[in-house]
Symmetry: C2
Subunit: 390 residues, 2 copies
């Protein structure tokens, strides 16, 4: 059979992002057994690094053996029991998924709806909470990959806690790229993905759960429906007890350890600044070409994913095809109700760089012109460079 | 931080087994997006190869984004609904896990128990089936990694079907190593793991589900409790519809494609013969050293995993430590009630070779002698070589 030899892509879509060469090296280091003393050392290093990346001391901090969506399911199925009430913030594609999971678990999901492209307001959340008898959790997406909207968490956390609910935050597109401090922001549970701002291949979901949430799990009236995602059982393997649960995805854990080491070396704050800096330049370039952002409020735009409205009369698929075929650049289209309406440009982890901002602006200009959209030559590049120089 | 540089191990335990160099290469090929046309080609190739490796035409044949245990949970949670009756064959460590999963799903698990080290008898199974009003499924482990016992499936399948139940088979340690023909043996659902006889790192679970079982899933009265493992939803992504479900673990899928290509190139029958041949030589060597197999019936011993009784008065941990520290060879100890009682030697995929049989026999002899166990020098090696020469 043919050798696997994938085309080289610059992955500036909603994720996965490109993988750091050091991470490929870790990924293809020879494996040892999942009960090997060497692997336990790597697990400990990974756990320590994860705590520092999440900014927490939570003992229940580990990587779920599945993709980001496995993390979403794992945390919800450990917390939610039949008959519980859960408030779910819905302002994009991923909120409804949480609702779906909550309902499959036999619980009541109370949705707080906002238009896609807006953050969830505190008033709407308080209103939803007031409709609950005893809300167990508030679930919210910190970085909505489908809309490019950033949802601030501290105020959501306070509102949840006032009603005795815990806060579950989807940080798939924020961990390692956006300001996120689990302990300071009083987030009870956060889950993420390996393939976004960490530049690891998809396949692992880092999670962290604080003592308040662990208490809730310990006090369940029924067993967790899922054996594979039973967090307290998984923790026995990810702690010094080392009780075998399932065969860990060794190579992916190597890769995640390396990814987190790279984050640590650069420093979290430096990364937050870098992501913000490059997003601003990208935004300046895009706006100079006359395009509009989906998220109107400037302070609610993600530093890791930029959602741009497709100009009227142009097919997003044509633009994306030009980028992919002519430039080898992948960007995303809209999901769900935004299908055909937006382009999604991810600048995550190592992909958040001056080089990539200029490359994608140049490619986008070419693609737009090909579709007959009038844009002054180099307008985007010029504005981006100007942004960097201020 | 330090570079990840794992010690080189010969992985002759219960899995993971060593990874083929070609698979490491595939694993570290640069990733593309999960909706990239190139990745769809790789998915199609993987699916075709999986069908041929499972010996089936089942449309629902794909890789679950999790380890082998994720496969177990995925198939059970799609089939089993609250109040259902499921017969679970328990003759080792992995049967009780199926029971656990079935019960977490709110169903009734009727166990067919046999001593660890024996296959499940048809009589005991029929007896259990007769205690059910309407058994929905029979769950059985084809290759019990905890005991080295091989469970023939065709007769189990007939007994299940006579009572209108489907057969769910755990083929984690058989796929690609033991005779397994899903269609000919009338197995309704089989799941496996990437890290055993396929020599891929752990992290994916190949599964196949026939039309009869798909019908059962379609006719559920309640929704599948798990969103992440909802097979009909996952199939939409693994078929031409290409509906995004979750971000596939790209690198691991590359690796699995390569692993299956290697199986295809050698030919399934050739692999079955090779595994059997090397197991026989290993067995001859072990018996020549005066050790006893756990599985008494010779025709019920796995070609992929050999469980050997630890001689009285010797600690299995000391033996394993010598093998690991002095020879860099990992073998397994006993799980659950067999803890301390047995050694488990895996000869899976590329690890099933004359070279490895000789290496592990030599190491084992040294380790045994170190513990004061009397064994004639080279007795094991001599018997193994003699076995190859017959």
């Amino acid at each position: 059979m043919r050798t696997i030899c994938p085309p080289e892509r610059l992955l500036l879509g909603p994720g996965p992002s490109n993988v750091h060469p050091r991470i490929y090296q870790a990924l293809s280091s020879h494996i040892v057994g999942h009960m090997d003393p060497y692997f336990f050392e790597i697990m400990d290093e990974t756990k320590d690094l994860l705590k520092r990346t999440f900014r927490t001391e939570n003992e229940l901090t580990l990587a779920i053996s599945g993709t980001g969506m496995a993390g979403m399911e794992a945390v919800l199925c450990n917390i939610v029991e039949e008959g519980d009430e859960v408030v779910v913030c819905v302002n994009g594609f991923f909120g409804p998924r949480m609702t779906d999971i909550v309902r499959r678990l036999g619980a009541r999901a109370v949705e707080v709806k906002e238009p896609w492209g807006k953050a969830v307001s505190l008033e709407a959340l308080r209103d939803a909470l007031s409709k609950c008898t005893r809300p167990k959790a508030v679930a919210v997406v910190n970085a909505e990959t489908s809309t490019g909207v950033f949802q601030p968490l501290p105020e959501i956390s306070r509102a949840a806690h006032e009603r005795g609910a815990i806060l579950v935050a989807d940080t798939v597109t924020s961990l390692g790229g956006c300001e996120l401090e689990v302990e300071r922001m009083d987030i009870d549970i956060a889950y993420s993905g390996s393939q976004k701002c960490l530049n690891c291949p998809p396949g692992l979901s880092p999670i962290t759960v604080n003592e308040r949430a662990v208490e809730l799990i310990r006090n369940r009236k029924t067993r967790v429906r899922s054996w594979y995602f039973d967090l307290l059982e998984i923790l026995k393997y990810w702690s010094q007890a080392r009780v075998y649960h399932h065969t860990a995805p060794i190579s992916m854990v190597y890769a995640l350890r390396e990814a987190l080491a790279i984050v640590e070396e650069e420093g979290l704050e430096n990364r937050w600044i870098r992501h913000r800096r490059n997003r601003e330049a990208l935004e300046a370039g895009i706006e100079a070409m006359g395009l509009k952002m989906l998220a109107e409020e400037r302070d609610k735009r993600l530093p890791t994913l930029t959602a741009v409205k497709v100009p009227k009369g142009i097919a997003d698929t044509s633009l994306r095809k030009t980028l992919l075929d002519q430039f080898g650049i992948e960007i995303g289209g809209g999901l769900g109700e935004l299908k055909g309406e937006i382009l999604r440009i991810g600048t995550m982890g190592l992909n958040s760089s001056r080089r990539n901002v200029l490359l994608v602006l140049d490619a986008l200009e070419t693609a737009l012109r090909k579709e007959g959209y009038g844009v002054r030559k180099g307008a985007g590049l010029q504005a981006a460079v100007a942004s960097y120089d201020t």
